[in-house]
């Protein structure tokens, strides 16, 4: 079969598991339209932002201020007055809102049945632990992340799976299938990277912090079937869906536990061989992020791996205009910590948490998906900044006191 990267795959290629919503004809068609709309707005019309900046916004700024913009915020304020960028942003914001409405409509019409299916899969399983004493932190509750009404934790009726099922079924629209049929291209890429970079490694216990519906935890559990995987999150509504989803995908070795990454006191020091976050750090806060990393480093065993998958950080080497474009989701798609997070010095935070720079590394990771069906993420001028299924991963091997595998060099 020839690859046809000019068109996102049909929504019907999205893989169905037992708690995935039933998809009516027009629901699939609506997601097909949104996937094509997103691709056109990002890939074709996105390039106009640079033209508007260079031909209008930048000259106007320089004329008024007598200098070039000094940071991404000044560019944003200048571009928010430019008619092209305003229209482009309005299109993109609408596409996010439409995606939420489409996903929620599909899930809500069958909510009772889906919630019952999940409840049946979850019943009596010790691998799902919900704790109503775990509060939804301010950084998860201040606004509805991604413009998802109710965010990861909201419910239409108590105990439902609306948040999880809507999140799971709609990611296709924003990424045009770039994360694969099970939206697990990130998790699949992690398994591949570990196999290539530490062949034969068999982690005994893996912790995925901020796991939401476990879409990136399931590949780890299936890739390392002898490992015990802990997927933790503060949102019960996402966890109860994620647990049922994992069960139906045959990942019985994941525990879904309602717990904050800021307080891992349940675990002794050195409990896990691998501590992972995937597109999670940007949904924290300035104080919470170092706490999560410090707790993660504490529960990490000597010789163990800590890895954080994120969008690229804003370094001095990254042009300010690109930083501004990558910041779009922060202010237009309810990701209020996104901008500050991507400017943090993650290596310094890892070092403060007890993970020395000698054992640190950063890598580029591309989503691992079935390329016969799902297109690769576009780069360059076509890139959908902030959405591309190509990440920067910040990692560290914790010093191993016994054989000093990191310090040896």
């Amino acid at each position: 079969m020839t690859r046809r990267d000019d068109i996102p795959p049909d929504y019907r290629e999205v893989k169905r598991h037992s708690v995935f919503p039933e998809v009516a004809h027009d629901e699939a068609a609506r997601f097909n339209f949104l996937a094509n709309l997103n691709r056109h707005v990002a890939g074709v019309l996105g390039a106009g932002n640079r033209a508007a900046y260079e031909s209008r916004a930048l000259p106007a700024f320089e004329k008024a201020e007598g200098r070039a913009p000094k940071d991404r915020f000044e560019i944003r304020h200048a571009m928010n007055r430019d008619p092209y960028h305003r229209f482009w942003s309005a299109l993109k914001r609408n596409s996010m809102e439409m995606r939420q409405q489409a996903g929620r409509a599909m899930v809500l019409r069958q909510l009772e049945a889906l919630s019952a299916k999940a409840a049946a899969l979850n019943a009596g399983k010790a691998t799902l632990e919900l704790d109503p004493m775990v509060a939804v932190p301010r950084y998860q509750a201040a606004v509805d992340i991604h413009c998802m009404p109710g965010s990861y934790h909201g419910e239409a009726v108590p105990g439902d799976v609306l948040a999880g099922a809507n999140y799971d079924s709609g990611i296709f629209a924003t990424t045009g299938g770039a994360l694969g049929g099970l939206t697990d291209g990130g998790g699949q890429a992690l398994v591949k990277w570990v196999r290539e970079n530490r062949p034969g490694w068999a982690p005994r216990r893996i912790l995925d912090i901020g796991a939401t519906i476990g879409h990136n935890a399931v590949p780890l559990a299936l890739g390392f079937p002898d490992a015990e995987l802990w997927a933790i999150d503060t949102a019960a509504a996402s966890l109860r869906y994620g647990h049922a989803r994992a069960q139906s995908l045959g990942a019985g070795n994941i525990r879904f536990v309602q717990m904050s990454g800021e307080d891992l006191s349940r675990f002794p020091d050195g409990h896990f061989d691998w501590v992972q976050t995937t597109m999670f750090l940007h949904e924290l806060s300035g104080r919470a992020l170092p706490r999560v990393i410090a707790e993660g480093a504490r529960v990490l065993a000597p010789g163990g791996l800590m890895l954080h998958l994120e969008q690229p950080s804003y370094s001095d080497a990254m042009p300010l205009f690109e930083q501004f474009m990558r910041d779009w989701d922060a202010f237009n798609n309810n990701e209020p910590f996104w901008s500050a997070m991507h400017a943090l010095d993650i290596p310094a935070i890892l070092e403060s948490a007890g993970l020395p720079r000698a054992g640190q590394f950063s890598i580029k990771v591309a989503a691992e998906v079935d390329r016969d069906i799902f297109p690769p993420a576009a780069g360059g001028a076509q890139e959908d900044f902030g959405r591309a299924a190509v990440w920067d991963a910040y990692g560290a091997w914790k010093p191993d006191v016994a054989n000093a595998r990191v310090a040896a060099e």
Partner: protein
């Protein structure tokens, strides 16, 4: 269940929505235009499904439509329909983008130039 799925599907997300245009009506109207475009696209895909089922079977039921699954070639052709609709819908924005780097002079100026040259 006391949930109205239609109203709840379109619930507002917590967090102030940016105003993209000077006139709030413009923000509202763009949302309406895009919603209409979405449903035109949905109808077009549904019509394509009906046509393909009629071609194949000469008869079509609603159940056939709901369970229809295009093969990869058909899915690509249908994807192109969406892409073309989006491109037609957003032609004005795309031409605005091209104009940003086009250095066009007003046609009145060109008209005078041609008259005098």
């Amino acid at each position: 269940m006391s949930v109205d799925p239609i109203l709840l599907a379109g619930a507002k997300a917590k967090g102030k929505r940016p105003a993209y245009f000077d006139a709030p009506e413009s923000d509202r109207l763009l949302s309406m235009v895009l919603a209409l475009a979405s449903d035109v696209a949905v109808m077009r895909e549904r019509l394509d499904t009906v046509e393909r089922l009629l071609d194949a079977n000469g008869v079509v039921s609603r159940a056939d439509i709901e369970t229809f699954r295009p093969d990869r070639d058909a899915a690509h052709e249908r994807g192109l329909l969406h892409r073309e609709l989006v491109a037609r819908l957003l032609r004005g924005v795309q031409q605005d983008m091209e104009a940003l780097s086009a250095d066009d002079r007003p046609v009145e100026e060109v008209s005078r130039e041609l008259r005098d040259s």
